[in-house]
């Protein structure tokens, strides 16, 4: 049978040590509690939004994509190697000639539909895709007077490729930035521009975004 020590046998020792220990314990507990409180109160920005990507979907409106006129376009890195492909409706979009990409200007292709007031620009990006996407959006907001709609979204295309997306508006001008990582450290940024009518959700634009793959 276990023998119980009477309370009086241990309490005095605790009391002797208590002033310093209690003070230290209170201080440590206060700091840890404050820090944990901050974490639990959501002061950190992590987890503030749902990171589940939303599919682009087929798009909405007319005209439908003409399957007979879809055309592939190679995604070319700065060293001229192909790192992926995309497709577009050649009956709707007209390619715009652009100079070969350089480290200072990584745009490698552009498409336009002048009648619809729609243009797509394709650039090579490096590093994590959300950095240049949000960087470009912040630049447009700071220097060009655009308003950023929302706080950015995660999207996914029909090929399973994840994109970071930011929407911007300035009067009748509508911009959409979609960025994805393709091979290693290299990825693609698609800048979709529409004015004066917002036609960024048309099937032709979504067809291009859904077609991108490494």
């Amino acid at each position: 049978m276990r023998s119980e020590r009477p309370p009086s046998a241990r309490l005095p020792r605790l009391r002797r040590a208590s002033p310093v220990l209690r003070l230290a314990a209170r201080l440590a507990a206060l700091l840890v509690a404050l820090a944990l409180g901050m974490a639990l109160a959501g002061c950190g920005a992590l987890g503030k939004k749902d990171e589940t990507p939303t599919p682009f979907g087929p798009g909405a409106g007319v005209p439908p994509v003409d399957a007979a006129s879809t055309t592939p376009l190679s995604i070319v890195a700065l060293d001229s190697t192909s790192i992926g492909t995309l497709s577009y409706d050649a009956a709707y979009f007209t390619p715009v000639p652009v100079p070969p990409p350089t480290p200072a200007n990584t745009q490698f292709a552009a498409l336009t539909n002048a009648a619809a007031g729609l243009g797509l620009q394709f650039q090579i990006i490096f590093g994590r895709p959300d950095t240049p996407c949000r960087f470009q959006a912040a630049l447009a907001a700071r220097d060009l007077g655009f308003t950023i709609l929302g706080d950015g979204d995660k999207r996914i295309n029909d090929q399973g490729l994840e994109f970071d997306e930011v929407l911007l508006v300035r009067g009748p001008e509508h911009w959409r930035l979609d960025c994805a990582q393709l091979v290693g450290n290299v990825g693609i940024e698609v800048l979709s521009i529409s004015s004066p009518t917002d036609v960024l959700g048309t099937p032709q634009v979504h067809y291009v975004l859904n077609s991108i793959h490494p």
Binding site: L31, A39, G127
Partner: protein, 392 residues
């Protein structure tokens, strides 16, 4: 290339009044209750108790960075050599990718009177550091980066007159990456250099109760090669522009409101001097507003004013436990309010729509070590700070 914009009359007037303001601060701050000029030191920094240390396990959540656990450690007058040491080790405890290894030595002497050296080393990985564009009109829209970098700093310091006069030169080396004009990551290895002059007419180096501090800091041309390494990579536009020199002026007044309450009032002004291409946003400096993420507001010119009331609860308890050894001299409860603004031009816009920050904090004073916890609020949310040393 464009030089600094023309100054408006208001700023010229303020610049002219600045010496008068500083003189008033000097007289107000140094007169003190006893009227001594300058205030006598309450204690000698050189004779601080050897081997006092604090090693605080901490869990912290930093906005835009993550939740992490680690140890913040600081020791003063190690082995009675006069050297102070500090270190931080932290790892993420959530899905964020955080690793921090930092160490610092202060007051390392080499046998030359008045001369000592500081050294700092940091190896940091912040998997999801949220940054902001520089510029007065920077949107409240974060730019996430994977911050992996190493940092070293060497600072020779000359001090006189019980540390009331201090002149230092800082050479720092950064090895990591920066963002190009397109927002793409580019490797970067870069030196930076600066000089600092401090006039400390207060009653204590660590925790002043009365007096004035005046400080001037300027960036300097840095070598491209040193014992730390060699520069590589393009000059970035996201980080500092190396074509300009940043001057930072600071004045802080410490005034005892009551026997246990001290008011600290800090004022800063910075300017980036030099020619830059038209339209370039210069990250000259950033007002240290505690209610915003670090470097939230930065531009070519900036002002900051912060007031902090510190209520002192004296303890004088000797601690000799695992995480602390030394005398816990006092606890402090602080309330603070700060304003600041940045601008590409040195005109009235520096004082328009001032950003405001306010909050409360606690400090534990272990003789030469101040452990500070602040909770600050602004129109963009709440920030927490757990660190060593007063804000000013």
């Amino acid at each position: 290339m464009t030089g600094p914009p023309a100054r408006c009359p208001l700023v010229v007037l303020l610049a002219a009044l600045l010496p008068a303001l500083l003189a008033a601060l000097l007289l107000l701050g140094t007169a003190g209750p006893a009227g001594a000029f300058p205030p006598e030191r309450r204690r000698s920094y050189e004779q601080r108790t050897p081997n006092e240390y604090l090693a605080l396990p901490a869990v912290a959540s930093l906005p835009g960075i993550g939740v992490f656990a680690g140890i913040i450690a600081s020791a003063s007058n190690v082995a009675d050599t006069g050297v102070d040491a500090a270190g931080t080790v932290a790892e993420s405890i959530d899905k964020s990718d955080i690793s921090v290894r930092a160490a610092a030595l202060r007051d390392v002497t080499v046998g030359v009177p008045h001369l000592s050296f500081d050294y700092q080393y940091a190896d940091i990985r912040l998997g999801n550091l949220e940054t902001f564009l520089p510029g007065r009109n920077s949107p409240n829209f974060t730019i996430p980066i994977t911050a992996r970098f190493k940092f070293q700093l060497l600072r020779p310091i000359v001090r006189f007159w019980e540390r009331r006069i201090e002149v230092s030169y800082t050479l720092a080396f950064f090895k990591g990456f920066d963002l190009s004009t397109s927002g793409n990551e580019e490797p970067l290895r870069s030196h930076s250099a600066s000089a600092n002059v401090l006039l400390d007419l207060t009653d204590d180096v660590v925790d002043p109760h009365v007096g004035t501090r005046l400080q001037f800091n300027t960036t300097l041309p840095a070598p491209h090669k040193s014992i730390f390494g060699e520069d590589a990579g393009a000059t970035s536009t996201f980080g500092r522009n190396h074509e300009v020199r940043v001057h930072n002026y600071g004045a802080t007044l410490y005034w005892p409101l009551t026997r246990r309450t001290v008011l600290a009032w800090n004022n800063e002004y910075f300017e980036a001097v030099g020619s830059v291409p038209p339209g370039t946003v210069v990250r000259g400096g950033s007002p240290p507003l505690r209610g915003y993420p670090a470097n939230r507001w930065s531009d070519r010119y900036g002002v900051f004013s912060g007031a902090e009331a510190r209520y002192i609860y004296p303890l004088g308890r000797h601690l000799d436990i695992l995480i602390a050894h030394g005398v816990l001299e006092a606890l402090q409860v602080a309330l603070f309010y700060e304003v600041g603004q940045v601008s590409p031009d040195p005109n009235h816009s520096l004082f328009d729509h001032l950003h405001q920050s306010y909050g409360a904090g606690m400090r534990a004073l272990f003789e030469a070590i101040v452990l500070r916890f602040d909770l600050a609020n602004s129109d963009e949310g709440v920030q927490t700070h757990l660190t060593i040393g007063h804000a000013f």
